[in-house]
Amino acid sequence: MIAALVPSNATVPIPDIPALVFPALGDTLIMVGIVMAIVIAVGIPLGAIVHNLAPGGLFERAVPYSILSWTVSIGRSLPFLILMASIVPFTRLITGTNIGIAAAVVPMSIAGIAFFTRIVENSLRSVPPSLVNVAKASGASTLQIIRTAQLSEAVPSIIGGITINTIAMIEYSAIAGTIGAGGIGYVAVTYGYQRFDHNVMIATIVILVALVSAVQITGDRLVRLTTPHARDRH
């Protein structure tokens, strides 16, 4: 449907830009939304598991920790473009296609989970370990300890991490756009970059900056709202 709007060999007239850019923005939001839902649902438990398998954790186990940690590191060390290309067979197996939003969601989720697992692990590490002892001494089960003495105390930090992660996923969605996933990135690449359409390029930049700023501002506000001592000052 985007292609239908494109007269070959010409720049898009300015009045037509919104009709081109806004549906693309919608695609980006859907893609990033689905990915972040998966990333949070998987990354929080995974981060908590990695944190507690690590030395000093609640169920410290050296071998499973190393395996998980290495897996996450591999996921983190591949540039997204390469990760995306290298797992095409896997993506096709799951979604039955290797283009479009569905196909982009798979590699984005994998990269996002690896990223977010580390963020959650890091957030949990910043919670005073003495609270775990407080919870234990108060009769908490392992799950109760993780919920109250680790995750709950780390909520502001995890929200900060979700903000960073969401912005990274917006960036990845632009890269995924190059394999025809649609979204703002796709528009920016096909019109702005390949056809030197400056107007479209500027429009996508403005939208991306606005989107990232909105995510950042919302994230910062939520961090403040969930941090009792920060709440006092505002």
Binding site: N133, A135, S138, G139, A140, Q144, T148, P228
Partner: protein, 340 residues
Amino acid sequence: MISLEKLTKVYGRGDSRTVVLDGLDFSVASGEIFAVVGPSGAGKSTLAHCVNLLERPTSGAVLVNGENLSRLSEKQLRVARRSIGTIFQADGLFSRRTAAANVALPLDYLGATPAETKRRVGELLERVGLSDKASSYPHQLSGGQRQRVGIARALALRPSILLSDEATSGLDPESTASIVDLLKELRDDLDLSILFITHEMDTVLQVADSVARLDHGHIVESGALVDLLRDADSDLGRALRPRRDWEAASGADGIWFVSYEGRHVRPDWVSLLGAELGVPISILGASIERINGVTVGHATLGIGGVDPARVTGALAALGLTATLDDAALRPESDELEDVA
């Protein structure tokens, strides 16, 4: 009542084997506050962790009301921990929970109903004098108030044992005194056995009925607080009430270190001593106070021209022990100018 029997904790094995606690034996009766003091590295935190079962002892036993807790399974341990309330050092509150929600934690873990929890939390906050701070967050409370929340939380499940792990460390003297008063009050009202672990000698004087000194994993000295304070040979007694620097003696006066030994030393003993010996007595330094209903104290006296045996005898008759200072211990200040 909590008893430790040959409690031993060893970390590592082979060459890196470190014995942190070596066969500790003591018990804390109901209604008793038992203080354990010791320098850092003495094994105090390991002792605390073994008592509230955060760590298992390598050997020996922790008995609460006769039941051996150190051999329980992980699941039974979780239940057993509820009979021991722990007050942690200042950082023990959850920063994102209000005072009430912090106190409610053990009840939440237990699965108490919201109505039950609310009632019990209200009761506990009132008990520690913080009813008006229920919805305050930890950062809005003073150090002393935070510790009161910690105490309320420790009492939530009606334990018979209270473990205080450096609970007053880092508090200002007034807050420390108010926490100490609260603990004594709770001890009396609830007949708790309180194990009070600290490195602060001053706090021990205020709080303890009995005291033990932990050093390198051993209990090197222990006993009732007043007994230790009245025993001139007790290192722990001296460490608890150290003799401060004293004023210089005039002329050829000998310097005598006098300690309260008897339970009933007359307050006018200095006049009586002067009358008995027939010489003037200079008081160069003294500290006397009542602890747990008994007067304890020590004084540094300057006495000249009397046979030392007479001095010792006269003091002994008054319920005091005395030793004559050898010159090496005398402070440097008595050189020249203070003869006037």
